[in-house]
Every structure is written in C-alpha cells, then in structure tokens.
C-alpha cells in the first residue's frame, strides 16, 4: 500500500534527516516503526504525507508510492482524499475549536469522494467521552481525550491507511491500551492499514505484524514482530527485559552495551 524507496531528506537544504530509508507497508497490515529521539521517524511520516515542504524540508533522492502512485507531486490535501491520513506527533488538535468542529475539519477529506459521508456517530460510539464533550473547546480536553479526538479525526476521513506518530506519548497506561485497542479494531473491522511510529515497543508489538527499527535516518533492523520480540538487543533496549536488577550474562551484556550505545548516539 505504501512503499518508501531509498529516500534522502534534507531540511533547509542543509540538515540531512533521512539517508536512504526504505520501508514497505502491505495492505491491511499494521507495521510499526521504532527508533530513539531524533532518529527521523516523524520525518519519515511527513515525507509520506507530503508535509515536509511546509517545513522547508525536501525529499531528494528516492521515491514514495502510495497505492502504486508516485506521491511527489500530490498536495497534502489531495493525498488525504486518496486515502492516506496522518495523525501527527503531539496530536495537533485545533485547540481553540470545539470537538465537533475538529471533526468537521477532518470531513474535508471526504470532499470529492462520492458516496462517502462523515460518520460522526461512529467516532462518538468509539469514544463516548467525546460525545459528552462535543460542544467543548478541544484545548480543555485531557491528553487522552485529545488523542481520541486526533484518532476520531482520522476515522472521519475514512482513510485506507493511517500514519500514527507516537500515539502513546504522555498518556497513562490505561489510555494507551484503549488507543491501541482502537488501532486494532479499526484494522480488523475496516481493514485500515497502519504505520505506527512508537518509542514504546511493548504496546507497538502488541498490535503490529511487522516492525522496522531506525537510527540516524536509516533502517537498522526489520522483521516479523515475533522475531523482533525475541531479539536480545531489542529486548534489552526497547522492551526493558533483563535489566531489572538480575545478574546479567556477561559477554552478551558487552555486545548489547555496544549496540545500545550506537542507538543512543
């Protein structure tokens, strides 16, 4: 559904953020993209949704295709209408507008797509809290409710694929669980393809089929989720296994330590 082939991204013609990154998200799947701060995860998503240009960023080499079509010259608003929705980092809700107006804003994604109508009730059924707060200014919602609203906007747009940037950021475990349950449901019920960027590998692996690990603008590891889950490096670095006060096996530690350092740099 989405294929990113060997892209290079620079900001302001100087800062290189991605160096030859490739990844593939097959139709109907949930794929996760993990990496530390500054690895370039958000940049990857912005490249896919064509928001880079608005921040003076540019895809140089490489190519991005959505449903087989090269996206280079498709404006962001047209890309959503073709079915690619980006839930941005930090939720980016319209804080001065009501919850309902936030959803109406997303209904622009349906313009020019005959046969589709905004289904507000579906969003409110998924997230009953939002129905109660329909007329409230979105800026006063709690962090969890704001993430639900961000998700709700995506649902209004009825996309074939959603790019999600760190949906767990700053949320209580229970809310995170609820959000990921929604990701799973949307994928299972509507067949929506997902690319989920996360730092919390535990929750990401709980829904994803396949994962990529990135570091300084490149993919350094990829694989099926069960394989990744069992990878010792990932366990120690992303899943926090083995570091909990137990005595570590010595030589493996050294190897992990090296890797970890590389990830951290």
């Amino acid at each position: 559904m989405l294929s990113i082939e060997n892209i290079e991204v620079t900001y302001h013609h100087t800062v290189q953020a991605l160096r030859g990154l490739s990844l593939e998200v097959p139709k109907g799947r949930i794929v996760t993209l993990l990496g530390t701060n500054g690895a370039g995860k958000t940049t990857t998503l912005k490249a896919a949704s064509n928001l880079l240009r608005l921040e003076n960023g540019e895809v140089g080499e490489g190519r991005i295709r959505f449903k087989g079509e090269d996206t280079r010259h498709i404006a962001p608003d047209m890309l959503v209408k073709k079915g690619l929705f980006h839930v941005r980092e930090g939720r980016r809700i319209f804080a001065e507008m009501t919850v309902e107006d936030n959803l109406i804003a997303a209904s622009y994604a349906l313009d020019g797509r005959p046969g589709l109508k905004a289904d507000f009730d579906k969003v409110y059924d998924f997230f009953p809290q939002l129905r109660e707060r329909r007329k409230q200014i979105a800026g006063y919602l709690s962090g969890g409710e704001q993430q639900m609203l961000a998700f709700g906007r995506a649902m209004i747009a009825q996309p074939e694929m959603i790019l999600m940037d760190e949906p767990s950021l700053g949320l209580a475990p229970k809310v995170v669980e609820e959000i990921f349950e929604t990701i799973r449901r949307l994928n299972a019920e509507d067949g929506t393809t997902m690319l989920v960027v996360e730092q919390n590998a535990g929750v990401a692996f709980s829904v994803a089929d396949y994962g990529y690990i990135m570091e300084s603008g490149q993919i350094v590891m990829e694989g099926d989720v069960p394989t990744l889950r069992n990878d010792p490096d990932i366990q120690s670095f992303y899943l926090g296994v083995g570091g909990e006060g137990n005595v570590r096996q010595s030589f493996r530690d050294v190897k992990h330590y090296k890797r970890r350092k590389r990830w951290l740099s």
């Binding site: 608005l54 921040e55 608003d77 980006h86 319209f94 109406i104 209904s107």
Partner: protein
C-alpha cells in the same frame, strides 16, 4: 449635553467604516499570518474602480443614456415641481444615478477581486511555507507598486462619485436631543456592520469557516486534513479585496478619490492591533471606540487633534496589552 449624542452617533458611523476596512486585514491575517500593510491600497484600488465604473465609463461617448442618467418618464414626472433640497428630491436624484451605482459596485467588486487574486497567486503563494516575514515585506513593497500604479492608470483625481444611498437628511429626537444625519452615512454604516456580521457568522458557523479557523490555528495540520490551504489563502485575499472594494466606494463618496486614500489603511492597521490582530470582536470594538474618540476630539478640540488623540489611545492600549484587547497571545510571535 445634546451635542455628545450627535457626535457619538457620528463617531459610531465612521467607526463602522473602520471596521469594514479592518475586516480585510483580520481575514488575511487569520488565514495566512500575513499582516497586509498594503490593505489601504487595495481599498484605494476599490475606490478607483468604483470611480471608473460609476463616473469614467458613463462619461464615454458610447455610453448608453440610461447608464449616464436614468430618467424614465415616471421619474421625470415626479421630479417636476419638487422644491429644492426636498427629501424626496434626494431620493429621486439617487434613483437617476442608480445604474451607475450598481454597475460601479459590481465593477469595483469584480476588478478588485482580480487584483487580490493576482497578489495572492503571483506574490504570496510562491512564498508559502517558506517565510511569513518575507510575505509581510512583500506587502510593504506593494504599497509603492500600487500607489504608483494607480497614478499611472488613473491620471485624474475625482471629487465627485455618486453616493451609494440617497443623501436625504434625517432628523429625529433621541433623549430630547435633536439628531441630524445624512441618509447616505447611515446606510454606509449599516452596510459596513451587516457585512462585518455576515463575515463573522460565516467564520463561526459554516463549514467554510471551520476551514478558515483550522488554517488559522495550524496550517499544516489543516492541510493534512484535506483542507486546501492555498484555496483558503486565496479566499481570504478575495474577501479582503471585496470588502475593500465596498469600503473604497464608501470612502470615495465621502472624501473623493485620490492616492491618499491608501493612507487609511495605516490608521486602521493601528486599530486592528488595538483590537488584537486575529479577533473579529476585538477589532470591531476597537474600530467603534476609535471612531467615537475621533468624533469627540473633533468636537472638543477641533479637527487637527482628531487625527492624533485616538491613535495615542491606541498606542497606550498596545503598550499595556501588546496582543491587543482581545488578541491571542501567540500573535506576539510575529
């Protein structure tokens, strides 16, 4: 005591015109984050276009008679035997001019919309996403281009253009005070307030308004939501041009047409800052306050002071509240 009401009403009426000018600046700022320093010159163009379609064209040798002066038999008949300066006479005189007024307004609206679109398309759009500061500087450059351009295109200034409404004197009593107004001033103010209200209602209550507010808050997220941000930009500029055309026509009927009309934009910019760049309500209140202050200063200290005192008040407000009476804090960033 009686005078204060009279001057207050005069002030409110000119304040309403300021609000109509301000609405263009606020709309462009809300959508694009660009403070349009050239808005006054867009208004000047509106005034010249109105002058062109309501005075110059009817003056051409090929202009049909009804365009120059509409005098159907019944109108001529009614006019006969009326005393000078009778209220009905003023209405009939205006009716004679009605084709010019209507064609003048339609022409000014259409031509000014084209000017606004050209500015947005040629000068603003290419800079989108790069630098708001550069865009603002472009509007500063536009001031010279537009005032120079107007002088090249329209070589003559004009003192007379037909007023939008009959200039019937209106007298009534309010709180035991005799109030005196010109019908055309009242109608101008009502047009300004209605237009202002219509725009605010559109922004607050329609789906198109949601797109504008979303773009105002977060351009790139609005874009990623399927809202065509370039189209919102273009519409904001067209809206500024349209309200500017009406404001220009009104100013032309009051002050005549000359390049100095462009200067109105600057005093209104101060009013807009006082109200808070992105707040329609704040700007409306600020416009009325300045209008009334101006009228009161005029009354108490004379015309020389009227141009200064209200703006001292504006500066004081901005000093105390840098983002205006009702503005959002974020505005400070620009």
């Amino acid at each position: 005591m009686g005078q204060i009401l009279q001057f207050g009403i005069n002030g409110l009426m000119s304040g309403a015109i300021y609000a109509l000018i301000a609405v263009g600046i606020v709309s462009v700022f809300k959508a694009t984050k660009v403070v349009n320093f050239a808005h006054g010159y867009l208004i000047m163009f509106g005034a010249y276009f109105y002058f062109t379609f309501a005075v110059l064209l009817p003056g051409m040798s090929w202009a049909p008679a009804w365009y120059v002066s509409w005098e159907p038999a019944w109108l001529v008949e009614m006019k006969e035997g009326l005393p000078m300066f009778s209220p009905l006479g003023a209405v009939l005189d205006w009716l004679t001019n009605l084709p010019r007024v209507i064609i003048g307004l339609i022409g000014a609206l259409a031509a000014n919309a084209v000017v606004g679109l050209i500015i947005e398309r040629v000068l603003m759009r290419p800079l989108m996403g790069q630098s708001v500061f550069a865009m603002i500087m472009v509007t500063v450059g536009l001031i010279s281009v537009m005032s120079g351009g107007a002088q090249l295109i329209w070589t003559a200034d004009a003192n007379y253009v037909p007023s939008l409404a009959p200039n019937t004197p209106i007298r009534f009593t309010l709180f035991d005070t005799q109030i005196f107004l010109f019908g055309t001033d009242l109608v101008n103010a009502v047009i300004a307030v209605l237009l202002f209200g219509a725009i605010v209602a559109m922004v607050q209550f329609t789906k198109g308004g949601v797109a504008i507010r979303a773009t105002a808050e977060d351009q790139s997220t609005a874009y990623s939501m399927g809202i065509s941000v370039p189209r919102v930009f273009a519409r904001a500029w067209v809206l500024a041009s349209l309200t500017g055309a009406i404001a220009g026509a009104i100013l032309a009927t009051r002050n005549g047409v000359s390049p100095s009309l462009g200067l109105f934009g600057f005093s209104v910019l101060a009013i807009v800052l006082m109200g808070g760049l992105d707040s329609y309500v704040g700007v409306f209140i600020a416009a009325l306050v300045v209008g009334v202050l101006e009228a009161m200063t005029q009354w108490k200290f004379g015309g020389d002071w009227a141009g200064i005192v209200p703006y001292v008040a504006v500066l004081l407000v901005i000093l105390v509240r840098p983002h205006g009476l009702f503005g959002q804090k974020e505005v400070e960033r620009i």
